[in-house]
């Protein structure tokens, strides 16, 4: 329950709707029980009264009609109110979660894992609305209804009330709990086999070419089939438990009915209870089982919701580190960058091992190296998604930790890897970079990047799709580049902007980034040597170290330089 508490607290803001939804649900159920109870009493009483007597049938007749209308209206109102409440809660939970997450360092979020895990978190947030709609509301309604019904029955007979209570508790509490306990082991197995199946499917799909050429296709297919068998096997076991729970609840409902009947008949025999009353109470108890029947499902959801809450807790309960000072200096020499003996690792191994270099304001610098050589770590440190383990980084003439977040961000415009775009139009995406940029400037950029023609003539209004899925890889890259260029910052950081582009496009990109803003420092990360002579400076990285650095003309003139060796390979 402790896990779920933060989410329950979120309901307070919308408590009116929450209570209204549950109250109307309760009303519907009570009307439903009332309808059957009153009907049972009515026909038994009229049959005894018979034709002769002047039986007052107006009141019960009206009551029956009243319950019927109440039940209909209650159901409609309950659906509206509970959905209103749910939607409000979803909105609130998402905003709340986003606010928990936003101040965390992206490094922390990376520790949570891949995009796939992230999308599971999103689904988890979605699952939290079950908490109200499927768990809390039905449970509360069941408790109130059971109390109400037992109270009503006890007016006529304490013994019958106890029997009914026992039946409700067994069916609504004990059986679901037993079912939940029985399902714990196969449930865990199920998710284990599911990930195994996923892994083997991925291996098969990814490795199909290898499998064809080196053989082993049949074996890989057999291993997928074997995983599927185990996975579905656990489903069979889970299915049996569900079926057992359903059957037990029917058995308990029936058993309660029989017990009420047996004890009731004896009471009637002793004269302690009217026969009419017995008929009425029987219908009452019969109808009241409707209140406990959704509870097994609620328990299933409770398990899943708790798992979701546990996963979310990693983010929701993280304390944001106060990385940035509240006030700090302005850059004294905007555009300059200095690394002095910087050592850095992501917790396992060393990503940067004593890196030092110096970039003057306005210099165009190529950073070269293979993937894994530490290039991307440079970016992570420059934007303070991570901090170095030791060494000093200076930006704009000041130590990087002294800046407020705003001052730091204003100095650097980044195009990272992988490129992240947002659903919406091209314009929406470009405005992320600079929301003051006029359409003309954006179009001009798209044209120079050769992107304008690709947008079906829709230009800036072209919808890029979820995470830019309606664009090709190269187009996504160029759009992200345009976004970074639009932002006015003294430093431009580009991570492999020309990778995967054809020669002409790559050339156009280079022309653009090296000349777009006067005096802008450009850090251009790549693993190609071909464009080297267009840069002022090169830093050659390998395995977290600077292998070589210096002025491009000087290094090119030196036949012994590593750069020349690389170029001649």
């Amino acid at each position: 329950m402790k896990l779920l508490w933060p989410y329950i607290r979120q309901m307070r803001a919308h408590i009116g709707w929450v209570v209204l939804g549950s109250a109307l649900g309760l009303l519907t159920l009570v009307a439903s029980i009332g309808l059957l109870t009153l009907s049972g009493w009515f026909i038994t009483a009229t049959s005894l009264a018979g034709v002769a007597a002047g039986f007052n049938y107006f009141t019960p007749g009206a009551g029956v009609r009243g319950f019927a209308i109440l039940r209909t209206a209650g159901r409609y109102g309950e659906r509206l109110a509970s959905h209103e409440a749910t939607f409000r809660l979803i909105a609130r939970l998402r905003t709340w979660f986003y606010r928990c997450m936003e101040p965390l360092r992206p490094a922390r979020l990376n520790a949570i894992g891949s995009a796939e895990l992230l999308s599971r978190l999103i689904a988890d947030i979605g699952a939290m609305d079950n908490l109200y709609l499927r768990i809390l509301s039905p449970s509360l309604i069941a408790i109130v209804v059971v109390a109400f019904v037992c109270g009503f029955v006890s007016i006529y007979s304490g013994a019958l009330a106890l029997i009914a209570l026992a039946g409700f508790v067994l069916a609504g509490l004990l059986v679901p709990v037993v079912g939940y306990a029985l399902g714990a082991v196969p449930g865990a197995q199920q998710s284990r086999y599911q990930s195994q199946l996923r892994l083997r499917l991925i291996t098969l799909i990814q490795g199909m070419a290898d499998l064809r050429i080196y053989g082993g296709m049949a074996r890989a297919q057999a291993s997928v089939e074997e995983s599927q068998q185990s996975y579905l096997g656990t489903q069979v076991r889970m299915g049996r438990i569900t079926a057992l729970v359903n059957a037990l609840i029917l058995l308990i409902a029936g058993g309660t009915l029989i017990a009420v009947l047996v004890v009731g008949v004896s009471l009637v025999h002793e004269g302690a209870l009217e026969a009419i009353e017995l008929a009425m109470l029987l219908f009452c108890v019969l109808a009241a089982f409707e209140a406990v029947s959704p509870l097994p499902l609620a328990y299933q959801y409770l398990g899943k919701t708790r798992e979701s809450a546990a996963r979310l807790a990693v983010v929701a309960q993280s304390k944001p580190e106060n990385l940035f000072p509240a006030s700090g200096p302005a850059p004294s020499s905007p555009g300059a960058i200095q690394f002095a003996d910087v050592v850095f690792g992501y917790g396992h191994g060393v990503a940067l091992d004593g890196v030092s270099f110096n970039v003057e304001a306005g210099e165009k610098v190529m950073i070269m190296g293979h993937s894994g050589s530490g290039k991307s770590s440079l970016i992570n440190l420059l934007v303070r998604f991570w901090d170095p383990d030791s060494g000093v980084i200076q930006l704009g003439g000041e130590a990087i930790e002294r800046y407020t977040e705003e001052t730091l961000r204003r100095q650097v415009s980044v195009m990272g890897q992988p490129v992240q775009l947002f659903a919406g139009t091209v314009r929406d995406n470009l405005k992320v970079g600079n929301d003051q940029a006029p359409d003309q400037q954006m179009m001009d950029l798209l044209e120079r990047l050769g992107l304008a023609q690709a947008l079906d003539g829709k230009g800036l209004d072209y919808q890029v799709g979820e995470a830019g899925s309606r664009l090709s890889g190269g187009q996504r890259k160029r759009l992200a580049l345009a976004r970074a260029l639009l932002r006015e910052a003294p430093i431009l950081l580009l991570d492999e902007p020309t990778e995967g582009l054809d020669r002409d496009s790559a050339e156009a990109v280079l022309d653009l980034v090296l000349n777009y803003r006067d005096g802008q420092t450009v850090l251009f990360i790549t693993h190609h040597t071909s464009a080297l002579n267009r840069f002022d400076k090169v830093i050659l990285m390998d395995q977290g170290r600077v292998l070589e650095q210096g002025s491009v003309p000087v290094l090119l003139a030196d036949v012994e330089s590593r750069i020349n060796q690389l170029k001649s390979l």
Partner: protein, 572 residues
């Protein structure tokens, strides 16, 4: 095509998947119906006892047999409910298992070329989640469709002989329920679909936001987005609730008829007893037994329809999944058919003559007129930016796609006439992404040559620089390298791929960016080994890295779908 015929087609496709599991579904339906009969028995005995008690017989002993039958009815209902649930599950599991096997076979026929051109994550989600999304439809929704018709009929069958007036109330209201629900529902279904779409969009927006958080931070947008998120969600709520006000009418209609017919029945029965109403029975006046029997059954009459409503979501989900599953199953198979001509042994000469390739569903050819003769023992490197069609060359050579035009021949024999297994047997390849399979290192190497002796294995490991890290592996050659080659670096995996190629000792060697993603040191080791591996073989190298061209005899470049000699020195 209108969305209604489309959804009808999807429903038809889903039903066609049932196949041999029909017997399980029938069992589920039958046990559901039998459960209905048991419920009638329960109502019958309950009414008997109550009517007896009200009429003055309050001696428990008089009801021994009735109580016995009541107990029997309760136990029967429980058992039948168990059978119904389990057999519905069985049907669903069987159907899904068969479908998944079919999808796997389809992927096999579509071949590696197809798999490479689609996102692995998407394909695996299709085979896993989308197939699982059919569960609720087959396990519950489909049996419930029959039961929502059958169970009311069973109840009617027992009530009609007792009282035609009550039967009439049921008969009149029952078809009205689906009718009204359909009337309300048609609009509601359209509204519901839009709502579903809006919700999906909202989730996508949120996902976008969370995934792009780092980017938003860099552009100083992340804090403002919380407000936007809350506004978007609110706008969504207002829109959706407008739609739902209509959609929920259908459940109100169901509730209305269920309540009103119970009320009508009770009032009618009461007034009959009081002599106010005098019709509806076949001969004798209404008895208390009949009245109680009817009243117990009345709520059960509408229950199956209501349950159908609760499974509606499962149906929606299955319909959505079926579209994507069907798309994969209907995908045109484009693999090269296998011929039966055996390859005449090494050495191998490969000739492309005006070879064209157009991928299915695309208008633009990837390759338009590739001409190349790869003489026996020759080393040729092909450059080109990603997306230029380098991998397409490989796919053609491996027979994963047939040529769309021109001729691709091996030792003068057209590739489509060659026995494919035999042809693949004479090729070794190393790609940029090697897949290792669950099992030991030895298993993975033996894929290349099952008959390899221990010495041969160790020799291949030495040739490919695997020996250097082999000693550090806990079990040597018998180390489990696990699913997806866990615990090995990219360079190590690549060296294992090389060892595999050494072992295979095939006359043709295909290399696809073999040193991408490696650090300088690993790259040097791999290149050195590759150079030795290339000796005496016909080699085709795809790369855009100069270092990886391995002193090729010729360097060509793919430009605009054609192979031209590479001009050095341009800007990459």
């Amino acid at each position: 095509m209108s969305s209604r015929t489309e959804s009808r087609n999807r429903a038809r496709w889903l039903k066609s998947r049932v196949g041999v599991e029909r017997r399980w579904l029938m069992l589920a339906i039958m046990s559901g119906l039998a459960g209905g009969v048991a419920m009638v028995l329960q109502a019958d005995q309950l009414a008997t006892i109550l009517a007896g008690v009200v009429s003055g017989e309050a001696e428990l002993g008089a009801y021994a047999s009735a109580l016995g039958l009541l107990l029997l009815a309760v136990v029967l209902r429980a058992v039948l409910a168990f059978v119904r649930e389990v057999s519905g599950q069985r049907a669903s599991i069987g159907i899904r298992q068969r479908l998944r096997a079919e999808l796997l076979a389809k992927l096999d026929r579509l071949g590696p070329g197809y798999c490479q051109r689609h996102l692995t994550g998407e394909l695996s989600a299709l085979l896993l989640e989308q197939v699982e999304a059919l569960d609720g439809y087959f396990a519950r929704y489909l049996p419930q469709v029959s039961l929502s018709l059958g169970l009311p009929l069973v109840i009617l069958l027992f009530i009609l002989p007792l009282n035609w007036a009550v039967a009439l109330i049921f008969i009149v209201t029952a078809p009205l329920v689906p009718l009204f629900m359909a009337l309300v529902g048609m609009k509601a279904a359209a509204a519901n679909r839009r709502n579903f779409q809006a919700l999906a969009n909202l989730s996508a927006y949120f996902l976008d936001l969370v995934q792009g958080l780092a980017t938003l931070k860099l552009f100083q947008r992340s804090q403002g987005e919380a407000q936007v998120l809350s506004e978007v969600s609110d706008a969504f709520r207002v829109r959706t609730m407008e739609v739902l006000r209509l959609a929920f009418l259908s459940s109100a209609v169901l509730e209305f008829f269920a309540s009103v017919s119970i009320a009508l029945t009770a009032v009618y029965l009461g007034f009959s007893f009081l002599g106010e109403l005098n019709f509806g029975t076949w001969s004798d006046p209404v008895t208390l037994y009949q009245a109680l029997f009817i009243l117990v059954l009345a709520p059960e009459f509408y229950l199956p329809l209501r349950e159908l409503g609760t499974h509606y979501h499962a149906k929606q989900e299955a319909m959505a999944a079926s579209e994507r599953l069907k798309t994969l199953l209907d995908e045109v198979e484009q693999q090269e058919e296998t011929g039966n001509v055996a390859l005449g042994g090494a050495p191998v000469t490969i000739t492309f003559r005006d070879v064209e390739l157009i991928y299915p569903g695309r208008e633009q050819p990837v390759l338009k007129g590739v001409n190349l003769t790869l003489a026996a023992g020759e080393r040729i490197a092909v450059r080109g930016p990603s997306g230029a069609g380098k991998s397409s060359l490989m796919n053609l050579l491996l027979g994963f796609y047939p040529v769309s035009g021109g001729v691709l021949s091996v030792n003068g024999e057209s590739l489509d006439r060659l026995d494919r297994d035999g042809w693949l047997h004479s090729i070794a390849w190393v790609s940029q992404q090697t897949t290792l399979f669950a099992g030991t290192l030895r298993d993975n190497l033996r894929l290349a040559r099952a008959s390899a002796t221990e010495e041969e294995l160790l020799q291949a490991c030495t040739d490919a620089h695997v020996t250097e890290f082999l000693e550090r592996l806990p079990g040597g050659l018998d180390s489990e390298i696990g699913e997806a080659g866990l615990g090995l670096s990219g360079g190590q995996i690549q060296r294992i791929a090389l060892a595999r190629a050494f072992l295979k000792d095939a006359p043709v060697l295909l290399l696809d960016e073999p040193t991408a993603n490696l650090d300088v040191q690993s790259e040097a080791l791999v290149l050195e080994a590759l150079n030795r591996l290339c000796q005496g073989r016909t080699v085709l190298i795809l790369t855009h890295r100069e270092a990886a061209q391995l002193n090729a005899d010729r360097v060509l470049e793919l430009v605009d779908g054609c192979l031209v000699p590479y001009r050095k020195g341009g800007v990459q």
